[in-house]
Symmetry: none
Subunit: 127 residues, 4 copies
DNA sequence: GTGGTCTAGACCACA
DNA sequence: GTGGTCTAGACCACA
């Protein structure tokens, strides 16, 4: 259920995290559900186990999942994932909006960009 | 007129570029105006000349400045800087807006964020 | 597969780029194929890794290759290399043809030069 | 009568040489005619006398002009300039045509480029 | 191991 | 003095 873009400049471990968070937010992964083991996921995705390990550890430190030694990794409360994502998104957005403003965009243009982002698009239907 | 943050995760040469682009957009640096020489700027900023050179060459490849051996580096057309900044800004924003949408933000919330970004704030008065 | 001329006035990093572009155009290097690592190529060619890095980064900025940290450098679309080379070649040629015309060459002489360039020659058979 | 492009990547001393050669070929500068003094020309063009000096010395070594100590620089035989220019143009052209061929241009396309170079154009009328 | 950044310092052509 | 190239070597994040 995870798709990695090997050509992207975004590190693989971050791509993984974002997608797992989205799966939690969408309810596909539920609270206390066990995540695939590091080795299995690495094999399925065809990448180095170290990369999975790094993603899991980072998510644990962010409170999105928890690990039980000898048993595996599990989804923490979805509300943790949600509040984290909202907080991070909002911070990034505010920074970018200021940037866009300094780049000469008008409020009107930015409102249009928001509306455009909420237009249903073909790609979205495929998800 | 350039201030570098040695602690930042943003590379020094990119910090330089962003600030020079902003100086051009603000009209402080004008078309065909000469930029500080590689060595002088390096001395003033307390960093290695190679780092300045990298920033200047990158900006030249992006069409923001042009360099002439034996003479120096000069500001290219400000419109080049402007279109570049707008393009990059918009691309980053569109990506983030999609992200925010997936994070559960409503169009209404994002419109509010846009309006908030255009509210005059104390920091802006200091510029 | 790359041969550098240390005596040449053409910088080493540009010699490298030209030869890699030619390898892509000849189909020796295919789309998404991995290029030698910065360190390995530097060792093989007997030059400093920084010089390889400069060549690779320049090619990436020109859209000929793409790089992913931790994974390596890869050939982008060959059509990118082709259009780039055609564009550069044509620009240089137009400039030189004007020059030749001002030097007193007739259209007839230049047409002959074109035909001569397309005559099979011994060196070409050796390729 | 000499126009320098300060933004060009071609060194000023070479720009000068090319234009003086063209003036000789066009008959504007005649055999044994005296060239402007280094200092005067530097003043008129607004550039460093060293640059003029370098151009004059280079042209002398190429047999296009000759200098008489204490008297100045003089145009050598126009035929010297012409044969030099033809020789250099032809060598550069042959190299570029091969390059263009390897870049995938057909003989037909190159013949068209030649014809295009001989079309009268507005800019040429202004010379 | 992979690329990316940065320092230090040398040498070159050009102005 | 100006930019441009190159070597040597350190340190970092990522896989």
């Amino acid at each position: 259920m995870i798709k990695l873009d090997l050509q992207s400049k975004t590190p693989l471990y971050l791509q993984m995290e974002q997608q797992i968070i989205d799966l939690i937010l969408m309810g596909v992964l539920k609270e206390n559900e066990q995540l695939p083991s590091v080795r299995n996921l690495a094999r399925d995705l065809g990448i180095n186990p170290n990369t999975i390990q790094k993603a899991y550890q980072d998510m644990e430190s962010r409170g999105i999942i928890y690990s039980v030694v000898g048993r595996g990794n599990f989804v923490a409360s979805p509300s943790a994932a949600e509040s984290l994502k909202r907080r991070e998104s909002m911070a990034a957005l505010e920074k970018l909006l200021q940037d866009a403003r300094h780049a000469g965009f008008s409020a009107q243009e930015l409102h249009q960009a928001v509306d455009a982002a909420f237009q249903p698009r073909k790609e979205d239907d495929l998800l």
